[in-house]
C-alpha cells in the first residue's frame, strides 16, 4: 500500500509492505498522517494562532517543551550554530519539527504492528524492515546540482535519512553563531537511527559548513554525505565502536 498526502504543501508518502489486515493498515496510516497534520498546525510559523506563533517564553505544552529541548541540546552541541531563533529573534522550530513529527508518525505505524515500511516526509525518510527479503530499502540521495541523478544509493534497514540543502528552498539555513545564512555547503545528508536526530544533524551540518561533517559523525550520525560550494563530495562515517 502506498499513500501520498500533502502536509503544509510538502508531499509526504508512506509505502507499507507488511501483509496485514487492510483496515488495520489504513487506520495506522491515517493516524500517522493525522499526527503530522497536527504537528504542522501547532508548530507552523505561518499560522498566527499556532502554538509556536503564540509562544512568549512562558508555559509550553509537553510537545513544545520536547521540541525546544531538542533544539537546545543541539544548539549547545553545535556551539550555537543550530538555533531555533531566527536572526530577527522570532521562534522558528522548523529545523526540529519536520523530522520529529515524521519520526513520531513512523512510531505510530510501528505501534500499530507494522514492521516493513518507508515513510518519506518531503525528502526525509524513515525505513523499517526490508522491502524484499535480504535487502534493505534503497534510498537515493539527490545530487543537489542535478535532479536526475543521485550522489549515491544508501541501503538502509531500520534507520533514517535526512537531507538539508540550499538547492531547493534557497539559503534558508542560518548559522546561529553569526546570524548569517549558511553558504558553505549545498547539501548535507545524514543517516541516523531515527529521523529526529538525522534531520536536526543535517541542518546542523549545513549551518556549521564543512567542519560539521566530522562533527555530526561524533554526535549520532551513522553516515554524513555533503556537497560543498565547489561541488565536491565530502563524507564521514561514524567511528566503529571500540
Amino acid at each position: 500500500m502506498r499513500h501520498l498526502e500533502l502536509v503544509m504543501g510538502i508531499p509526504m508518502s508512506v509505502d507499507v509492505r507488511d501483509v496485514v489486515d487492510e483496515q488495520v493498515e489504513r487506520a495506522a496510516v491515517r493516524d500517522a498522517f493525522d499526527r503530522m497534520h497536527d504537528a504542522d498546525r501547532r508548530f507552523s510559523r505561518y499560522l498566527p494562532d499556532s502554538e509556536v506563533s503564540r509562544y512568549d517564553g512562558g508555559g509550553a505544552s509537553s510537545d513544545l517543551r520536547e521540541v525546544l529541548g531538542i533544539a537546545e541540546r543541539f544548539g549547545e552541541l553545535s556551539g550555537g550554530a543550530f538555533s531555533v531563533r531566527r536572526p530577527d529573534g522570532s521562534l522558528d522550530t522548523d529545523g526540529v519539527v519536520k523530522g520529529w513529527a515524521a519520526q513520531r508518525a513512523a512510531d505510530t505505524l510501528t505501534a500499530a504492528g507494522l514492521t516493513t515500511f518507508c515513510l518519506n516526509a518531503g525528502g526525509d525518510v524513515v525505513v523499517r524492515g526490508e522491502p524484499e527479503g535480504g535487502r534493505g530499502w534503497n534510498v537515493g540521495v539527490r545530487d543537489p546540482s542535478d535532479p536526475q541523478s543521485f550522489l549515491t544509493v544508501l541501503e538502509v534497514r531500520d534507520g533514517a535519512v535526512a537531507t538539508s540543502g540550499t538547492y531547493e528552498r534557497g539559503e534558508h539555513v542560518w548559522d546561529g553563531r553569526t546570524g548569517q545564512v549558511a553558504t558553505g555547503l549545498r547539501s548535507a545528508t545524514v543517516v541516523a537511527a531515527d529521523l529526529t536526530t538525522a534531520d536536526v544533524l543535517a541542518t546542523c551540518v549545513l549551518a556549521l559548513g564543512p567542519d560539521g561533517i566530522a562533527w555530526a559523525s561524533q554526535h549520532g550520525a551513522a553516515a554524513v554525505l555533503a556537497v560543498d560550494a565547489d561541488g565536491e563530495l565530502l563524507t564521514a562515517l561514524q567511528a566503529a565502536p571500540a
Partner: protein, 178 residues
C-alpha cells in the same frame, strides 16, 4: 478505456525508478551502491558536480504557456476509431498541486492506454531558486515518466517538492483517465 488505478502508483514509483536508474548508472561509474554500515564513503574521491547543460531555461516557456485551472479538459485528439480502446489518444489535465513555491500542473497524453507524452502546464516561477531548478527539472521529469522502467530505488532523500508534486499531478491525470 479502463486503466487500473494501480497504474498511478506504478507510474509514480516508475518516475522515481527512472531517476534511480539514471543515478545508478552514474553511480556505477564511481563505485558499487553502498550499504550504510559498510562502505558508503566509496564515492569520496569523486566530485559529483555537474555543470549546467543545454536544458537550462527550456521549461520556462512551457511553464508560461498554460495557466488554465480547469481540472479535466479531456481532449480526444487524433482518434481514428472512437470505439476502440487500442487507438484512442486522449490528453488529460492533471490537478493543480500546490507546493510552497507555487502550483504544479501537467497534462498527460494517453494512446492505447499508454502514456505517450507529459507536458508541464504550470511550474512555480515566483521563487528565484525554484525557477532555476524547474527549468532543468521539468523536461527531465517528463522523459522519466514516459520512460519509467525498473524499480531499483525505493525512495529519495532530498527529492524536490516540485518533482513529487509533478508526480502527483501525473497521477491525478491517470486516475481521471481510469
Amino acid at each position: 478505456m479502463t486503466t487500473p488505478r494501480w497504474r498511478g502508483t506504478l507510474i509514480y514509483v516508475g518516475s522515481l525508478a527512472a531517476m534511480g536508474a539514471a543515478g545508478l548508472t552514474k553511480f556505477a561509474v564511481l563505485a558499487p551502491p553502498a550499504t550504510v554500515a559498510e562502505s558508503s564513503t566509496d564515492g569520496t574521491s569523486s566530485s559529483t558536480s555537474s555543470s549546467d547543460d543545454t536544458e537550462s531555461g527550456d521549461a520556462d516557456d512551457s511553464a508560461a504557456a498554460g495557466t488554465g485551472q480547469s481540472g479535466s479538459t479531456t481532449d480526444p485528439a487524433t482518434s481514428t476509431d472512437p470505439g476502440s480502446t487500442t487507438s484512442d489518444t486522449v490528453t488529460i489535465v492533471g490537478s493543480s498541486v500546490q507546493t510552497r513555491y507555487g502550483p504544479v500542473q501537467v497534462s498527460v497524453t494517453f494512446a492505447a492506454g499508454q502514456i505517450t507524452d507529459v507536458q508541464a502546464l504550470q511550474v512555480p516561477g515566483g521563487h528565484h531558486e525554484s525557477v532555476q531548478i524547474n527549468a532543468r527539472a521539468t523536461p527531465i521529469l517528463a522523459q522519466e515518466v514516459v520512460d519509467a522502467q525498473s524499480a531499483q530505488i525505493d525512495t529519495v532523500s532530498g527529492a524536490t517538492y516540485t518533482s513529487e508534486a509533478y508526480a502527483e499531478s501525473v497521477q491525478s491525470a491517470i486516475d481521471q483517465q481510469g
